[in-house]
Symmetry: none
């Protein structure tokens, strides 16, 4: 096989799939919106529908992105903690247990009065975190880092740890939860977490930053409350698994974290790529095309359609779809013939539901010289006319690797 | 996710799928018949095709209904006995071995002269069964109950039992078979069965009911002949597995049995719902809608199309399809917005074959606010234009649970 190995770009439009919306006469935002560029790729490429995890499973963005990268989340996903930690640059080792944390405010009885400590942010959190470094509890190393606003991530490193513990975060104001082991084995970890929470209060309560905050009328960030325990999955890194250099272009921490855990390089983005609805999609598309000069595989995530779905706003989702189509237009104009491009979503976020659903998402794949099938419209219904049929998220990378002429022959 | 959890109704039109019929100019009964109501659901809902067990597998009604309820029959199906037993109200425990039985007529050398004892029926069978109660053979408890006409079910309960035994029923007149163990371990069970058959003759041969039958010129039911050994599967009950209350509306014993074994409540039906071609489908539909007030999941089975297929009568099957469409019209008129409805079949019963085939069956699913796809006709070919694609029977419940907004999110 002498063909040139092509590059692969997967454009994940987060939460793009939808259901029929009353406000759109029973159509989905994709069905109701003119998308000439996405349709061009559909008409000239191949199309289908995709259950990112499996039929009827409502995926999170974490489990669905793992699937899209070719990892079965039913085997490797243990919880959100490690991906959040990785999203702020704390990529742990296998067997480390990671947690998402909040800087919170509590009274002297450790009753939580503000779960987000008045949405405290850097540089206060950076300074507060410093006083928590170097801790060791019962032989377990404590690694902690601040995230955006009141968020932080925590890693426990040592022997005998388990992720099978309940949250210290009660997800409400009032008394703090005690973390508990769901198994006998996990009690040691729960005990470490409970000691850490108390120690964080001891170290933070009289911290100069908090004294200043109180003086200025802000709630002090005097306690760290962990949740979402998970251990880092033991997986073969993506570049090794597929023998391809790989990077991710994403604004949202958790997506960066998932890609980071899977061994993709995480590319820094311009500030205008926020992950929100006002994020500049074309700027992000440019960054993806730039990244594709250096790498052979790029996963790009655009968060905005998911936000519209969660907000239950089909009209805003239609506007976002229009802008996604402009982004697709940028790819069309700047297309390089040595690439395979995929447009899909990680899951549906129907506006009528305001949350993720298990409905399959549209997928279209284009590369010059592929088979043209009969699908002509990029939508939940339109893509189902294509020759991809109904596939799973873990099928996407193998399919693209083949279209990119990067797969070894099996047999003779 | 705050959405209302919807109810689910699966309408299984038994053996509805077909192949092209000469008598219908190469069309199937569904293709050849006007079905405005089934088409309405297809046009406004989503459609596809379904291999209830797997591609190319010719399912029985038992294995296909297990699949439709989300159980892999390749894992849980051991034989027809337990489902027939359950169908007449004998739901055994895991490790019990169950058999279907016939009341038969034999001579004094135990040669069968009439496999069905002149199609004997209640109340004679009820009286005869009484004399067989309380038996215990080699420490094995014998539980037996009469069914319709000459049918009965038998359960063996005790330790060391195996379902891996051949039938005592030779499926013909003439010498009785001796049941044999297919494995060394199963010889004990075969021995118990052979002793039971002989003991049934001893207890029945001079029974007053049989003396009376002989006087009246009817064949005596003087022996019980078991077949179809199977052990009750060890499965999580459907209501527990899916966290939903569930019932079944069916006329045929075996379907009731399968639903009963899976933990669905079996609803008593009016006499006009016989399971035959003359059964009143609208009355059954009313019963299903009534049941849906009390339960969140209902499986309804209509047997008639299967009967036409077995009889090789495509014109009669077209008439039955017309009446199934009237039934669909009842559902359309009495539709409740908080429900997901599924129209499908458990398998194809092509008239040209006169038996079940492995051809995939059409499926359409409708709930207000779903994605409208481009399928418009409910038939083997028409449904294949829809976005469901080609699925398996075990995918149906997970898909519906998602559309009913009853699935927990996997990940974040």
């Amino acid at each position: 096989m002498s063909a040139l190995k092509k590059k692969i770009l997967i454009v994940v439009m987060d939460g793009l799939g939808d259901r029929g919306c009353k406000e759109l006469n029973g159509l989905t935002p994709l069905q109701a919106t003119d998308t000439p560029n996405l349709d061009w790729f559909t008409k000239n490429g191949i199309a289908g529908t995709c259950d990112t995890v499996d039929i009827g499973i409502r995926p999170g963005s974490d489990t669905s992105h793992l699937s899209i990268l070719g990892y079965d989340p039913l085997k490797v996903y243990t919880g959100r903690g490690p991906f959040e930690a990785a999203g702020i640059g704390l990529i742990g080792k296998h067997d480390d247990v990671a947690f998402r944390c909040n800087f919170s405010t509590c009274d002297e009885n450790l009753n939580i009065t503000d779960r987000r400590a008045g949405r405290i942010d850097k540089p206060d959190t950076t300074e507060l975190i410093r006083s928590l470094k170097g801790m060791n509890i019962n032989g377990v190393e404590i690694i902690i880092k601040e995230g955006t606003e009141h968020r932080a991530a925590l890693i426990l490193r040592g022997s005998g740890l388990s992720a099978d513990v309940t949250d210290a975060d009660s997800h409400d104001t009032g008394p703090l939860n005690l973390s508990k082991g769901r198994t006998k084995e996990a009690e040691f970890t729960a005990n470490v977490i409970n000691k850490f929470v108390k120690e964080s209060y001891e170290r933070l309560k009289d911290h100069p930053v908090n004294k200043r905050r109180i003086e200025e009328g802000f709630p002090p960030a005097n306690i760290i409350v962990p949740r979402g325990a998970g251990s880092f999955p033991k997986i073969q890194s993506f570049p090794e698994k597929y023998n391809i250099s790989a990077a991710c272009v994403a604004g949202v921490g958790m997506i960066k974290g998932i890609c980071g855990v899977c061994g993709l390089d995480v590319i820094d983005l311009p500030d205008e790529c926020t992950g929100g609805c006002s994020s500049n999609f074309v700027t992000k598309a440019k960054a993806a095309m730039e990244t594709l000069k250096e790498y052979d595989f790029v996963l790009m995530n655009v968060k905005a359609p998911d936000v519209c779905g969660h907000d239950g706003d089909p009209l805003l989702k239609c506007r976002v779809v229009e802008r996604l189509d402009e982004m697709a237009g940028y790819f069309r104009e700047n297309f390089r013939d040595d690439m395979v491009i995929v447009f899909t979503a990680d899951h549906s976020t129907p506006c009528s539901l305001g949350d993720h659903s298990g409905d399959p998402v549209p997928i279209t794949v284009y590369t010059p010289g592929n088979v043209m099938d009969d699908a002509v419209k990029f939508s939940e219904s339109g893509c189902s006319h294509g020759r991809i049929g109904r596939i799973r998220g873990i099928d996407i990378v193998p399919m693209c690797m083949d279209l990119a002429d990067r797969v070894e022959k099996f047999g003779a």
